[in-house]
C-alpha cells in the first residue's frame, strides 16, 4: 500500500495524490442515489504521460483504476466498484487548437463544458459545440464515454457523433490515436480507418480518453427559445415529426413536470431557433408556427406558450433542489420518439407511487430518429427514506425501459445487467473479448459492463 502511494506521489507530486479519509470520502460519493464506493487512492494528474505512468503502475500492482471527469453521470459510473485508484482528469483541461475553417477544436479530455462554451464565445463567436444538459463542470471526456447528447442533438446527433479524433491511453498503458490524427494528418476527421470505435460510449472501461477533436458548428448571432404546449401527450410524436421535417430548430425538447403546478399534466416543446438576423428568425418562426403548427392552434389542441425567451449558454438548472434536498437522479433512455406518450404515463405512475413529483423530458436526436428520454426522481439527501424511494423508482423505470423496447443510456450496474440479460449473446461475447484483449489485467474501471458477472 505504502509503495503504491509513494509511487503515485512520485508521478503527480504530493499535492495531487491522496489516501486520506477526506479525499477518499469525497470521491466515494456519487451525486445520485448510488451507495458510496471507496477508492484507496485519489490522484489528479496533469499530463498524458502522468496518466500513462499511473496506468502502468496499476497493471504492475494489479490495482483497479477509474477515470473521473465531472462526476455528473449520476449513475455511479465513476465510482470505484473494486477499490483502487480514482484518477481525477480535470487538471487535463488545455484547449490545444481551434481550427476555424475546419470547424473543430482539439482539447484535453478533462476540460469542462463551461470553459469550452466561454472560450468559443470570446474567441470564436461564430462557432459552438454541443453542450450537454449536465452542469458546465461536466467534462468532454466523461460525456463522450457515455454517448452523451447536447443542445445540438436534433441537427447533429449524439455528442459522440461529433468527434474528429481521439487520443486514448489503453488499459495496458500504450498511447493510441484514432482518426486522421493517427496518420499525423491533423485532427479533422474520425472516419474512415483507423477509427476503431472502441472508446466512445464504453463508460471508461476500455481506456482513458486524453485528447479529443470536437466538431464545432455554426453559431448564429440571435438565439431564442419558443415554447409550444399541448395537453394530450399522444400528440407529441407527430408534432415532433412535423418539426423535424421543417428543420430549422437547433434543439427540440419535449417536457412535462408536476412542479410548478403550471406544467402539471401538460406537455411543452421547447423549440430553439437561431439566426443571424431578425428576418431569419421570423422566417423560421413563420414556418414553424404559422405554417406547420397552425392546425393544432386553430383546432385548439396546441398553443404557443412563449416566444423569444432567452436561452443562456451554459444552461443553468435549479432542478437539483426541487425537493429542497439537494439530490436527484434520472434514468436516461434512448427511445423511439413514438414512445413518448407511454414513457410519460409510466413515469407519472411510478413517481406517484413513490411520492415524487414527476419530471420527464425527451430531447430529440437527429430527425426524430430517437430521443433521449429522462425520468427524474428527486430526493432529500438528509432523508434516507426518500433516497430509497428514488432508487426504487429508478430501478422500476429501468425495467419499464426494457418493457418498452427502449435502450437504457448510461445505466448503472443494475441497468447494465438488464441490458446484458437481453443482449444478443454474440454481441455480448464480443464485448467480453474486446474488453479482455484491451485489459488483460482487468484493471480498467472493473465492475462496469462486466460480461458473465
Amino acid at each position: 500500500m505504502g509503495s503504491i502511494y509513494n509511487a503515485l506521489i512520485e508521478i503527480v507530486g504530493e499535492d495531487y495524490a491522496s489516501n486520506r479519509q477526506e479525499e477518499l470520502f469525497t470521491y466515494s460519493k456519487d451525486l445520485g442515489t448510488s451507495e458510496p464506493q471507496w477508492p484507496e487512492y485519489v490522484v489528479a494528474p496533469k499530463t498524458t504521460e502522468a496518466v500513462q505512468k499511473i496506468v502502468r503502475l496499476a497493471n504492475k500492482e494489479k490495482i483497479a483504476i477509474v477515470p473521473l471527469g465531472g462526476g455528473m453521470t449520476l449513475a455511479g459510473l465513476a465510482l470505484p466498484l473494486k477499490g483502487g485508484i480514482t484518477i481525477d482528469m480535470k487538471r487535463m483541461e488545455k484547449i490545444i487548437e481551434v481550427n476555424e475553417s475546419g470547424r473543430y477544436m482539439v482539447v484535453e479530455a478533462g476540460v469542462s463544458q463551461g470553459k469550452i462554451t466561454s472560450y468559443l464565445h470570446k474567441h470564436h463567436p461564430h462557432l459552438m459545440h454541443s453542450e450537454p444538459g449536465a452542469p458546465p463542470a461536466a467534462t468532454v471526456g466523461g460525456n463522450l464515454s457515455i454517448h452523451g447528447q447536447g443542445d445540438l442533438a436534433h441537427p447533429y446527433g449524439f455528442n459522440s457523433d461529433m468527434v474528429n479524433g481521439l487520443e486514448v491511453i489503453l488499459p495496458t498503458g500504450e498511447i493510441a490515436r484514432f482518426g486522421s490524427c493517427a496518420i499525423d494528418s491533423g485532427w479533422y476527421t474520425m472516419h474512415p480507418l483507423p477509427d476503431l470505435g472502441l472508446f466512445l460510449g464504453w463508460n471508461g472501461s476500455t481506456g482513458i480518453i486524453t485528447k479529443v477533436s470536437l466538431r464545432l458548428f455554426p453559431n448564429k448571432k440571435i438565439r431564442e427559445m419558443d415554447l409550444f404546449a399541448v395537453e394530450n401527450e399522444a400528440l407529441i410524436p407527430e408534432i415532433l415529426y412535423e418539426l423535424t421535417h421543417v428543420g430549422f430548430s437547433e434543439d427540440l425538447v419535449a417536457f412535462s413536470s408536476e412542479i410548478p403546478p403550471m406544467m402539471n399534466k401538460l406537455h411543452s416543446i421547447s423549440i430553439v431557433i437561431t439566426g443571424d438576423s431578425e428576418e431569419e428568425i421570423e422566417f423560421k418562426r413563420h414556418l414553424i408556427f404559422d405554417v406547420k403548427l397552425s392546425k393544432y392552434i386553430r383546432s385548439g389542441v396546441g398553443g404557443i406558450a412563449a416566444v423569444s425567451q432567452d436561452r443562456q449558454r451554459p444552461q443553468i438548472s435549479k432542478s437539483a433542489d426541487w425537493k429542497k434536498g439537494g439530490g436527484f437522479e434520472y434514468v436516461g433512455a434512448i427511445m423511439p420518439v413514438s414512445a413518448y406518450p407511454e414513457c410519460y404515463r409510466r413515469g407519472a405512475e411510478i413517481s406517484a407511487r413513490h411520492d415524487i413529483p414527476y419530471t420527464v423530458l425527451g430531447r430529440v436526436i437527429g430527425s426524430s430518429h430517437g430521443m433521449m428520454f429522462s425520468w427524474s426522481y428527486a430526493f432529500n439527501r438528509a432523508d434516507p427514506e426518500t433516497v430509497r424511494h428514488a432508487r426504487e423508482a429508478l430501478h422500476e423505470t429501468d425495467e419499464q425501459v426494457m418493457e418498452l423496447n427502449g435502450t437504457i443510456w448510461k445505466p448503472a450496474v443494475f441497468g447494465q445487467k438488464l441490458m446484458m440479460d437481453r443482449m444478443d449473446t454474440n454481441t455480448l461475447q464480443l464485448m467480453k473479448k474486446v474488453k479482455n484483449l484491451l485489459d488483460p489485467n482487468g484493471i480498467m474501471n472493473p465492475g462496469n459492463w462486466e460480461v458473465g458477472q
Partner: protein, 346 residues
C-alpha cells in the same frame, strides 16, 4: 355564485354601440354592431366572440358602464368559444394555484402596498415615495395567495375568477388593512371594477398606484427637479377598467417635468402590448400581435420618445426588450417618479 350586473335594456337602447364600433381590432359599423351585441346578449354565436383579442378597451368605450367586455368573456365561456387553445388555458389556470404553503398574515392596521403576483419587483417600490408603506405579498413563494385572478379574462374564464377571488380578498383583508395601494393596475381594476360588477364584496379601500404617486410627489414637490425627458406611455389593458384614474398619468408627467410625445396610440386609442394575442387560436394571431407591437413601438420612436413609461409588468415583460432595442429606455412609472426626486434606481 356571482352574477354579472348587466342590463341588456341599456344595450338595446344604445344608439352608438361604441363598445364594438370603436374596437381597434374588429371592423364593425353601428348596424353590424347592433346585430352582434344582440347575438351576444342572447348567447348566440357571434364572430365577435371568436375574434375578440381581449384588450379590455370596450369596458372604457361603453358610455353606460354596462360591462360589455365582462359580458363577452362570460359568453365565451358559456358557448365554449375560448380565445386561446385549451393547453394554454389549462396552463394559465394551473399557474394561479399556490403550492408553497400558506402566507404569513401580519396585521398591518393601516395602509399597505399590495404587490400581487409581482413579489419579485419590490425593487420598483423603494425610496422616499414608499416610506411608511407596509409591503404585502413580498414573498414570491406565497404570491399566488394574492393573485387578483383577473388575468383569466384573457382566457375566457370568469368562472375561475369567481371561484377564487373571495379567498384572495379574505387573505388581503386578514392583514387588517384600511387602504391598499395596488402595485399592479389590474389588481386595482379587480377590486374597483370587476368585483362590484359581479357583486363581490371588497372590505378594503383600494388606491390606484398613480394617484398615490401623484399625491406623494405633491408632498415632496420641493425635491422635484424637472426631468425634461420626452416620454411615451404604454397604457395597459387593465387601465380600461379604471379610466377615471388615467388622468393621473398626465398629472404626474406635468409635475415631474416630462413631455408626453404626440403620438397616435394614446389615451382611448392606446394599443395593448399584445402579450395574450400572440397565442390566440384565431389564424394569424401571432403575426397580428407582432404587427401591433411593431406599430406601437414605431409610433413611440417616430414621435421622438426617449423613455417608454410602463404601468404593467406584463407589458414590460413583453415590450421592454423590443422597446430598448430601438434606443428607447423602458422604465416603470414608479422608477421615473423616483428619478424626479433625485433618487438612484437599481
Amino acid at each position: 355564485m356571482y352574477e354579472l350586473k348587466f342590463d341588456e335594456d341599456i344595450c338595446f337602447a344604445c344608439g352608438t354601440y361604441d363598445c364594438l364600433v370603436k374596437c381597434q381590432h374588429l371592423e364593425l359599423d353601428p348596424d353590424m354592431a347592433g346585430i352582434e351585441i344582440e347575438k351576444i346578449i342572447h348567447s348566440e354565436d357571434s364572430f365577435v366572440l371568436h375574434d375578440c383579442v381581449t384588450c379590455y378597451a370596450c369596458e372604457e368605450y361603453c358610455p353606460n358602464g354596462n360591462h360589455p367586455f365582462y359580458l363577452i368573456v362570460q359568453k365565451q365561456e358559456e358557448l365554449n368559444i375560448f380565445p386561446l387553445p385549451e393547453p394554454l388555458i389549462k396552463q394559465g389556470v394551473q399557474m394561479g394555484i399556490p403550492f408553497r404553503g400558506e402566507p404569513e398574515i401580519q396585521e398591518i392596521n393601516g395602509k399597505a402596498l399590495n404587490m400581487g403576483v409581482f413579489s419579485q419587483l419590490t425593487n420598483r417600490v423603494q425610496g422616499r415615495l414608499f416610506e411608511g408603506l407596509t409591503i404585502m405579498s413580498d414573498d414570491p413563494r406565497k404570491m399566488f395567495h394574492y393573485f387578483c385572478q383577473l388575468m383569466y379574462l384573457h382566457y375566457g374564464k370568469t368562472s375561475v375568477i369567481n371561484e377564487r377571488l373571495k379567498k384572495v380578498i379574505d387573505t388581503i383583508a386578514a392583514h387588517k388593512v384600511t387602504e391598499v395601494v395596488h402595485f399592479h393596475d389590474e389588481c386595482f381594476g379587480t377590486y374597483t371594477s370587476y368585483a362590484p360588477a359581479f357583486g363581490i364584496d371588497v372590505p378594503f379601500k383600494s388606491i390606484h398606484l398613480f394617484e398615490y404617486l401623484f399625491n406623494k410627489l405633491e408632498e415632496l414637490k420641493s425635491d422635484i427637479k424637472p426631468l425634461n425627458y420626452k416620454v411615451a406611455y404604454q397604457r395597459p389593458c387593465s387601465s380600461r377598467l379604471s379610466s377615471d384614474k388615467h388622468r393621473f398619468v398626465s398629472k404626474i408627467f406635468d409635475l415631474i417635468g416630462v413631455e408626453p410625445v404626440d403620438r397616435e396610440y394614446v389615451d382611448e386609442n392606446a394599443m395593448c402590448c399584445g402579450a395574450t394575442i400572440m397565442g390566440q387560436k384565431k389564424e394569424g394571431s401571432r403575426q397580428y400581435c407582432a404587427e401591433i407591437q411593431r406599430k406601437n413601438i414605431e409610433d413611440m420612436k417616430s414621435a421622438g420618445a426617449q423613455i417608454c413609461v410602463f404601468n404593467c409588468p406584463a407589458c414590460m415583460q413583453t415590450l421592454g426588450k423590443p422597446v430598448s432595442k430601438t434606443g428607447i429606455m423602458p422604465l416603470f412609472m414608479s422608477d421615473l417618479c423616483r428619478l424626479a426626486i433625485g433618487e438612484k434606481v437599481a
